[in-house]
Amino acid sequence: MIRAYVLIAGVVLAATPVLCQAQARPAAQPSRATSIPRLADGKPNLQGIWQVRNRAAYDLRDHHAHHGMPAGSSVIDGDDIPYLPAAAATRADNFKRRKELDPLEKCYMPGVPRIMYMEHPFQIFQTGTHLAMTFEWSQVFRLVYTDGSRHVDGIEFWMGDSRGRWEGDTLVVDVTNHNDKTWFDMAGDFHSADLRLVERYTLVDANTIDYEVTVEDPKVFARPWKMRMPLHRQIGMKRLLEYQCQAELEEANGAFERDQRTWYPDDPARQREATALAASMAMPPRPASLPPLTPSGQIARRPDGKPDLQGYFQPDSGGANYGLQRHAADFLTPASRGVVVDPADGQLPMQAWAVEERKKRELPERGYDDPTAHCFVAGVPRSMYTPSPYFFMQTPEYVVMLFERMSWRIVPLDGRAHLPDHVRLWQGDSVGRWDGDTLAIETTNLNGKTWLNEIGEIVSHAERVTERLVPVDAQTVRYEATVTDPVVYTRPWTIAVPLKREKQELLEVACHEDNQDLQHLKDVRDEARRGNTR
């Protein structure tokens, strides 16, 4: 049955004419139908880590070099972007003032298609209803719906709204709902909010995707135009790492300052001490006092028999983002019902220094120091109880978490070893496994830069996390996280938060791009440093 489908699809494709400029097309176009990987449903398997090998991110057209802009060849059909006269003048001005005007200089989301040809790898995950693209650059992602659903209306996104369908062996994605703030490249090529894209993804061999984009924007261009380029599989690259653009910028310019006690040290001798220290607190078995991890009702399963986690969830966080321990509301800090389930008294087993530090972090002048106030990613486990939705993608090889506040976690299920200990990440290095109906995730290599919540509960570079996710009924996943961190705590502790499945779609939170609050928090901090407290 599948073979018959493949054969038919191959015949359809072979009959489809390929329109492109020789220069921009992949060097070879071998016979397609036989040599490309496919999923069980017969669709071409686009999964893997991909990256361009061109200079399109600098300038889509043929160009010689400028300072900070290497030379490159055109990826555009005919090398012509058909600007309307007024738009051509804007483009020329953008080019002259690109260091000042390029949204990427401010670490704003690059938009589509620019994100696709930046010099950063990205990974594709694919199921029958969704295709996710997770990008190394600032942990941006795209969630492409292939379930026949329609575009959302009346809202704009930096990364657009992507709906895909298969035409034979080609994935065709309509991208709409763009804002007018992103560029196509560093050279100042731009568009309006009327931009519409049609992307075509065709595997031409196991390691090459022919990527074609038709661009339409009647406010800016006289007619539609096309770009086309190969995406290359990053053979030998086992996982994506992180490039947090704004966090790196603020650490470099001093706007986000090192916390000597919690951040992973730079000095190799102290790094060795940190490794030994982290290992000094063993990850305990799951506390026997907790309820059994078995589904209490009917749960859906994937074709491979594993519990089906895929979909949209909202954590029932119980105020954990304002304190893991039970407490009442205080002015504008809401109440927390308390999510600590071990120790049994619901109290975090903090060392004495941590008790004092946490009190200081609650002072108004320390509000600026919460990394999420800078719109940096929340870390583990905070990403899971920040009161904002997320989407789980589930394949036999991975569970991927896409957070509406624009970050991701990729959890491979292949039992791989963790990264070398000195490689530290905001979201850490997660490896998962199925333990019966429970997804168990071990996370290490955390950087110690995150806070557990707005009141400043503490984790350090010594933090390690074991998470357990089990669907307890059709609508609820029980989420637990056990944390060891011998820099901050006297013993391991565990939280539990229900995750509620909902019939919703992710929107997009452009936090850094629209952050109005950070300057106010900085003013409060700077005033306090001058010796005045308001």
Binding site: G154, I155, Q314, S317, G319, N321, Y322, A329, D330, F331, L332, T333, P334, A335, E362, L363, P364, E365, R366, G367, Y368, D370, T372, A373, C375, T386, P387, S388, P389, E404, R405, E454, I455, E502, Q504, L507, E508, V509, A510, C511, D514, Q516, D517, L518, Q519, H520, L521, D523, V524, E527, R534
Partner: protein, 131 residues
């Protein structure tokens, strides 16, 4: 239809809080503010939206205040759209002023002249929790 939405939102206004930063750090408990002014624009943004209103002081001077609302994703999911709040709308906003002394406040309630509550009425509501 819209009146139904407003009633639902009145209920939501009693829900607890959310933010990506500490509201307690940014706003001052000793500075409650109640202002009536005319909307000049709404910034339809995440994780918080902002409504700007022109407020005439006792000295006749007009000051443009920035009033923080819940996230637009939360508003969008509850049926609100960009076009729903037009410039020129008169609003009464209650909340607390920012500690840094700028004409900035969080919004605990946003009231239209007929007494109806606009949006969820608070900038630190559980705006992107889909309850």
């Amino acid at each position: 239809m819209r009146s139904v939405v407003v009633i639902i939102l009145g209920f939501l206004a009693t829900s607890p809080v959310i933010g990506h930063h500490s509201f307690t750090a940014e706003f001052d408990e000793t500075k409650p503010v109640k202002l009536t002014g005319t909307v000049t624009q709404m910034r339809w943004s995440n994780p918080h939206g902002w409504i700007y209103i022109d407020v005439k002081g006792a000295d006749g001077k007009v000051v443009n205040w920035a009033c923080e609302t819940g996230s637009v994703n939360g508003l969008y999911r509850r049926g609100w759209r960009k076009e729903d709040l037009l410039p020129g709308t008169v609003l009464t906003v209650e909340g607390w002023a920012a500690r840094n002394g700028s004409p900035t406040m969080n919004s605990q309630s946003l009231l239209l002249p007929d007494g109806r509550r606009l949006f969820a009425g608070t900038s630190n509501n559980r705006s992107d929790e889909a309850k």
